[in-house]
């Protein structure tokens, strides 16, 4: 059923209508805790996008070439999480060699990304929806960009709010959730444009 969906539709839908944070609630932990400052949030978004594309592509082949032929479906979680942990390490080492400037900027976030649920979530959605390779690649890219968009938007709003007085007890995470709720409401407005299920 999903085979005939245009990969570009998947790409835009995963940014706007089925955004990882705003409609699937994935990657919330780092989304709430690292959204205080726009610059840091944006760097984290970039690294998540990078890792997400890389691991989705890799996990696709692991799933098709190892898990399915050997009937290891019950071990898929262990394999996926190990692939994610390993590729984060590899990306970090490669970046250190090839792009030291970027590594200094993103370095501290890379280890955190291993336990970001959005990464594992994207892989699991890809498996459940039975995407082909091109679809998976664009789904990974779109989900990463969507995550980046959401965290940058939240961080920018929180920075603007700065010294605004917030009701007692609602400061910090409380208000961040309310803002996210309003953002999610706004994103529902996109829902007529594309649909993937």
């Amino acid at each position: 059923m999903t085979i005939d969906i245009n990969p570009l539709v998947i790409f835009f839908a995963s940014i706007l209508t089925s955004n990882m944070i705003l409609s699937n609630f994935l990657g919330m932990c780092s989304y709430i805790s690292i959204s205080g400052e726009y610059k840091t949030a944006s760097s984290l978004g970039k690294s998540v996008t990078l890792v997400m594309v890389f691991t989705t592509a890799l996990n696709y082949w692991i799933y098709k070439l190892i898990i399915v032929p050997l009937g290891l479906a019950y071990l898929q979680y262990v394999l996926f999480i190990m692939i994610i942990a390993a590729s984060v390490q590899i990306i970090e080492m490669a970046m250190d060699r090839l792009l030291p400037d970027l590594h200094i900027k993103l370095g501290i976030f890379l280890p955190l990304i291993t336990v970001n649920c959005a990464i594992l979530g994207t892989t699991l959605f890809m498996v459940i929806r039975d995407y082909n390779f091109i679809q998976s690649l664009l789904f990974g890219l779109g989900s990463g960009l969507g995550w980046w968009l959401a965290i940058s938007a939240l961080a920018a709003i929180r920075e603007k709010m700065g010294k605004t007085k917030v009701p007692r007890g609602l400061e910090g995470p409380g208000i961040a959730f309310i803002i996210t709720g309003i953002m999610a409401l706004a994103f529902i407005g996109f829902s007529g444009i594309f649909t993937i299920t």
Partner: protein
């Protein structure tokens, strides 16, 4: 024993509730709260995984080299998550389908890793297991509160039973994602207001 069982219970379920006070484990927490039955199953699954992974990690705490402990912990957690996943697939097919990828995502739920790092690393097995168990129950309680509101207002039902006697118009928005964000924000607001006066007096 450094801490007695009552303290462990009150700390995990109420005083330092993982979701509301520590803001951990939010991801799965919001996604499954559209129906109470999903929340209950998810909460119990997480409680099981947290309790047993805390037990295992605590038993092995002297055997695991410090440098590779993260990956060992992740593998232990993944093993228990696989058990939960297989159990759900075999016995509750519908719920397993409804929860979809979120069962697998228990692996990356920060609560489990948090309890392993903060507690099971340093404490004896039995009390660690209790700690994990009650942290899981605290999480389940929050899930049930949120899903109670969402299911009642969104579908007019509680655990699938129709309680919409007055025949009010159900709010579609409660079933959709934004409502989850608003509800958790409000819950955090309420709980931190309950705790804030105490904090003020102490300091």
């Amino acid at each position: 024993m450094t801490e007695n069982i009552k303290e462990v219970i009150s700390r995990n379920v109420w005083k330092e509730n993982q979701v509301l006070r520590q803001i951990l484990g939010i991801c799965s927490c919001l996604a499954v709260t559209n129906l109470m039955i999903n929340s209950l199953v998810m909460g119990l699954g997480l409680t099981f995984v947290t309790a047993f992974s805390s037990l295992t990690i605590s038993l092995l705490r002297n055997a695991i080299p410090n440098r590779v402990r993260m990956i060992v912990q992740t593998l232990i957690i993944a093993a228990y998550v696989i058990l939960v996943d297989i159990f759900l697939k075999a016995n509750m097919t519908d719920i397993s389908k409804a929860l979809g990828p979120y069962v697998g995502l228990i692996i990356t739920n920060c609560i489990i890793m948090g309890r392993a790092e903060a507690y099971a690393q340093k404490n004896p097995p039995l009390i660690s297991m209790m700690d994990g168990f009650f942290a899981g129950l605290g999480y389940t309680a929050v899930l049930l509160i949120i899903s109670l509101f969402r299911e009642l207002l969104g579908f007019g039902t509680i655990f699938g039973f129709n309680v919409n006697f007055l025949g009010f118009e159900t709010w579609t928005i409660m079933v959709m994602p934004p409502a989850a964000f608003f509800l958790i924000g409000t819950l955090i607001w309420v709980t931190s207001n309950i705790f804030a006066p105490n904090k003020g007096k102490k300091s």
